[in-house]
């Protein structure tokens, strides 16, 4: 089989529509929908004594106002998505709070009106009697537990988990050198350009609920809505249309609106929509990144790590809908590409009176990388060794795969690195980085990471060749800009011997494909990509069989090339794929399009027209379920200069060497890396969630939450190496999060050298550097 499209920089099929402004994002859908807004708690922790919505209900244009008391599911806790035995005190919120609010931004009432303006006018009239309660805002204060976020959760402790490989106590005691280190990572926010939005319609005659949702998992939303509203899943359609960025917080479910908007549509007999505004996005949509680490490392005189213990606390926020996936990932990813023969990691997942946390691009790995890389720098500094050399000495070598870590992974399996070449990453990165630029206050930073990608349980794909010869393919997972439609088309086009432009991909629409998990954790290419490969392969096999029968040849001698199914080496002995599609469906009535060839007096088959076990049509549904994660990796390195007076950061050079196994579309992967690095730079030096001691977010706007513009992001040089994954047919590994993971570590390392101050926290800023330099 010739791979014509695999590895090619195919320009995107999505672009034309999006460039013309013909994209369809959830808020673009009106269709006479009522609009809505929330009343949210301004306080981080308060008892609700009463809620009075009478004035709001009386406002002209208001269709309804809901509080918890008005909802049949008002007393139900929202699902705890990922249970875990160590999550002994998991808590989720109710759809609307009526008793206690535990974070500023928690939803208290929902107002539906003819327009958003009217809804906001009415929302201002909702009177809530709050009685403020003490606030726990920092992870440290959560650990001290002078005040509790949940009265029935002692110590604010949602979960605790300890894992050990080897014997750290003994190894530390025996180590020639030991160091204790403390690291702190503050909360961050993904901030996609499109805030969240939901649109829903209920059809009474069809008993059918249709929901458009800016989500990363339409299939999960559909499943949940069916359960909650007592509907058969087959009567619930959920579509993620064009989604303007996800980056993690849109894989969280259920946000209250995802239940309230459908419920309102069912109650009010009209479509209902809700679109978030930017300010509320900052507190209503999940955060991530808050952790505090206490590390003890034992090492020898050459900088080799002998033992490492990490005791960290994870800021869960006020609730734990996503379970303890994040700290599990941090614990598992901390050793990274390095050999840590004795490793002990303990985490405590603690509640705070802040927005709940769930994965944001990187999902626990940026912290893990930061801690490990800073530790290596500290070892190098103390032993006066070269930082790059210390890393080299600790790297896992190419002959050590598969490499089991002995630590639990987020899919319920153990961490086992499948393939990689970490020394090559480092060598190539150093080569690309080149010599240090001249001048003062210049620093070099380097960081190497591994990333577990492509988690299961599975994804599926349906591929069909139409009688026109065009191909349609569908999968359950949606895209938020990762070019799925182009990349899956490449995979399918290779299998079927057609042009990419002849393959139309539909994704994220349960009406077209209703089984699946979601787009997150750098899993799209591995799971859906391989599912496309499987399904398209089944279609190709059927095409060869039908064509061979028709041409009286051996199916093993058939190939699919140029839209034809033909005998290898005999290009004139073939038939168009379109014709094969016709023959695949024996018909009585030729309705045009060449179907005459499939009628009873035209085709030559003996026996039943549709053989036992066969199905009509040139189509197939296939699934891919990974046996475990496949491990991508990369090395970033940079030179920076810090102005010694203004503490302004200038990134002089930034290089990335990246290994995501085989690459289907290098242009798309590079775009993902460039975007990830920019998010990493933003999270390291510009963005910060500034909570006051009262738990209120001080900077809930783009004016004060500083996402970098183009002027703040440098050019990046990217190179790839490929260690194919042995775990899946395409040999691919995930790539979506890689760009962001090591950026904090790289910049910290470089700034530390440039300024000569120890960097043990994230994020940084000119102010922070000024204060550290005092």
């Amino acid at each position: 089989m010739t791979t014509r499209w695999f590895g090619a920089r195919v320009p995107r099929v999505e672009d034309d529509r999006l460039l013309r402004g013909q994209g369809r994002f959830t808020d673009d859908i009106d269709e006479g929908a009522l609009e809505s807004c929330f009343v949210r708690s301004p306080y981080a922790h308060a008892r609700i004594n009463s809620i009075d919505v009478s004035a709001a209900r009386a406002m002209p244009g208001v269709a309804a106002v809901y509080t918890a008391a008005d909802l049949p599911f008002g007393a139900v806790d929202l699902p705890l998505l990922i249970p875990h035995p160590n999550l002994t005190h998991g808590r989720t919120q109710k759809c609307l709070a009526s008793n206690v609010v535990r974070y500023a931004g928690e939803a208290v009432a929902f107002v539906i009106a003819e327009s958003r303006s009217m809804a906001e006018d009415a929302a201002e009239l909702v009177e809530v009697d709050y009685e403020q309660l003490p606030v726990v805002i920092t992870p440290e204060s959560a650990a001290e537990a002078h005040h509790l976020v949940h009265a029935d959760v002692p110590g604010n402790l949602a979960a605790e988990m300890t894992q050990e490989v080897g014997d750290t106590k003994q190894a530390l005691a025996a180590a020639p050198h030991r160091k204790r280190l403390h690291f702190r990572y503050e909360r961050g926010a993904a901030s996609p350009m499109e805030a969240r939005a939901v649109w829903a319609r209920w059809s009474e005659p069809e008993q059918r609920l249709t929901v458009y949702d800016s989500t990363q998992s339409p299939t999960s939303i559909r499943g949940g809505l069916a359960v909650l509203f007592g509907l058969p899943e087959s009567n619930v359609d959920v579509i993620a249309p064009d989604v303007g960025g996800g980056f993690g917080p849109k894989i969280m479910l259920f946000y209250p609106d995802e239940l309230l908007v459908p419920y309102a549509a069912m109650q009010l007999g009209r479509p209902v929509k809700w679109t978030e505004d930017r300010s509320e996005h900052f507190t209503a949509v999940n955060h991530e990144r808050g952790q505090v680490h206490e590390v003890e490392v034992g090492f020898d005189g050459t900088g080799k790590i002998l033992a490492l213990t990490d005791d960290f606390i994870h800021d869960a926020g006020a609730y734990t809908p996503y379970g303890i996936i994040l700290p599990i990932i941090t614990a598992a990813q901390l050793p990274g590409p390095y050999r840590v023969p004795n490793y002990r990691v303990r985490f405590r997942d603690l509640y705070t009176n802040a927005t709940p946390t769930s994965p944001y691009r990187g999902a626990g790995r940026p912290h893990a990388c930061f801690v490990m890389e800073r530790t290596l720098d500290a070892i190098a500094a103390e032993q006066r060794l070269d930082r790059v050399e210390v890393r080299r000495r600790n790297l896992i070598q190419t002959d050590e795969f598969p490499y089991p870590l002995g630590i639990a992974w987020q899919d319920g399996n153990q961490v086992i690195y499948d393939s990689g070449n970490y020394p090559a990453l480092l060598d190539r990165a150093m080569e690309m980085l080149g010599p240090r630029p001249a001048g003062d206050h210049v620093g070099k930073g380097v960081a190497i990471y591994v990333e577990g990608t492509g988690v299961g349980p599975y994804e599926g794909a349906h591929v069909q060749v139409l009688v026109s010869g065009k191909v349609v393919a569908a999968t359950g997972i949606p895209s938020q800009g990762q070019a799925h439609a182009t990349v899956w088309a490449q995979v399918v086009a290779d299998q079927l011997g057609v042009q990419v432009a002849d393959v139309q991909v539909i994704s994220g629409d349960t009406r077209r494909f209703s089984w699946g998990v979601g787009t997150f954790a750098s899993r799209g290419a591995v799971t859906a990509g391989n599912a496309m490969f499987v399904a398209a392969g089944m279609v190709a096999e059927k095409a060869r069989r039908i064509a061979a029968e028709h041409l009286e040849a051996d199916p093993a001698d058939m190939e699919l090339v140029g839209g034809q199914v033909r005998v290898k080496g005999s290009p004139d002995k073939g038939m168009p794929l379109a014709a094969v599609s016709v023959l695949a469906n024996p018909v009585r009535y030729a309705f045009g399009g060449g179907t005459e060839a499939a009628t009873q007096f035209s085709s030559k088959r003996e026996g039943p027209p549709l053989q036992s076990g066969d199905q009509p049509g040139l189509e197939a549904t296939g699934y891919y379920s990974p046996p475990g994660s496949t491990w991508a990796s990369g090395c970033h390195a940079a030179y920076v200069r810090v102005d010694p007076k203004t503490y302004r950061l200038e990134i002089l050079k930034y290089v990335v060497v990246h290994d995501c196994g085989r690459v289907i579309n290098p242009m798309v992967v590079e775009g993902q890396i460039e975007g990830g690095v920019a998010q990493g730079i933003g999270g390291a030096f510009y963005e910060r969630l500034a909570y006051g001691e009262d738990g209120q977010l001080r900077n809930a706007s783009f004016m004060e939450f500083l996402i970098p513009y183009s002027t703040e992001i440098p050019e990046i040089e990217i190179d790839h190496i490929e260690t194919p994954s042995p775990l899946n047919p395409l040999g691919v590994k995930g790539a979506g999060e890689a760009g962001v993971i090591p950026v904090g570590a790289v910049l910290a390392s470089a700034i530390e050298e440039a300024l000569g101050v120890a960097i043990t926290e994230m994020p940084l800023s000119p102010l922070k550097l000024f204060q550290l330099s005092r």
């Binding site: 013309r20 673009d28 064009d242």
Partner: protein, 178 residues
């Protein structure tokens, strides 16, 4: 008010923002809303030919003026405008949400700076946020757009250029056996 060359009704409610009027009253949903405080640039349209933030204008202020939105750059089915074409060639968009705002800003920028240096390009797009691309591909797109625009000051030649779009013919082939 004239929108994309066609007379369209003005807004009834003075507090209706121009962005909402375009999107929800006139059905031109190509203009997007990212922040409503003028920082992200997703809502950028041309107002009497100059790029402005439509979220910072009341719709009534546009009465008697000409607004061009992303939908007005290329007729349906017709060739892409050189700026649109350049973004496509350079992979200057991923999720596409910030893209109309960028494209309209760049159209305005290139009118005032037809031959920009890299520094001027960086400065020229520094008022728009993108969360997906990391900007490098957008900078390349603006460079390419300047080249394409200098080939055809009024954009006529863009018709030839759409044959470069994703039918696959122009793609570098690897032809690697597996």
């Amino acid at each position: 008010m004239k929108v994309n060359g066609v007379e369209r009704p003005a807004a009834a409610d003075p507090r209706r923002l121009l962005s909402d009027h375009l999107r929800h009253d006139l059905g031109l949903t190509g203009t997007h809303v990212g922040c409503e405080h003028g920082v992200c640039g997703c809502c950028t349209v041309l107002f009497d030919g100059a790029p402005v933030r439509s979220c910072l204008m009341l719709a009534v202020q546009a009465e008697g003026h000409e607004v061009t939105t992303i939908e007005g750059l290329a007729a349906p089915g017709a060739a892409l405008h050189p700026v649109q074409q350049a973004f496509h060639e350079c992979h200057g968009l991923q999720c596409g949400f910030c893209t109309p705002g960028f494209v309209m800003s760049v159209v305005g920028f290139l009118k005032e700076n037809p031959n920009p240096s890299p520094e001027q390009i960086d400065e020229g797009i520094s008022g728009n946020l993108c969360r997906c691309t990391g900007y490098a591909s957008i900078r390349r797109a603006v460079q390419r757009a300047a080249e394409l625009t200098s080939l055809s000051p009024s954009g006529e030649r863009a018709a030839e250029l759409t044959s470069l779009s994703p039918s696959g013919e122009r793609v570098r082939e690897r032809g690697e056996e597996r």
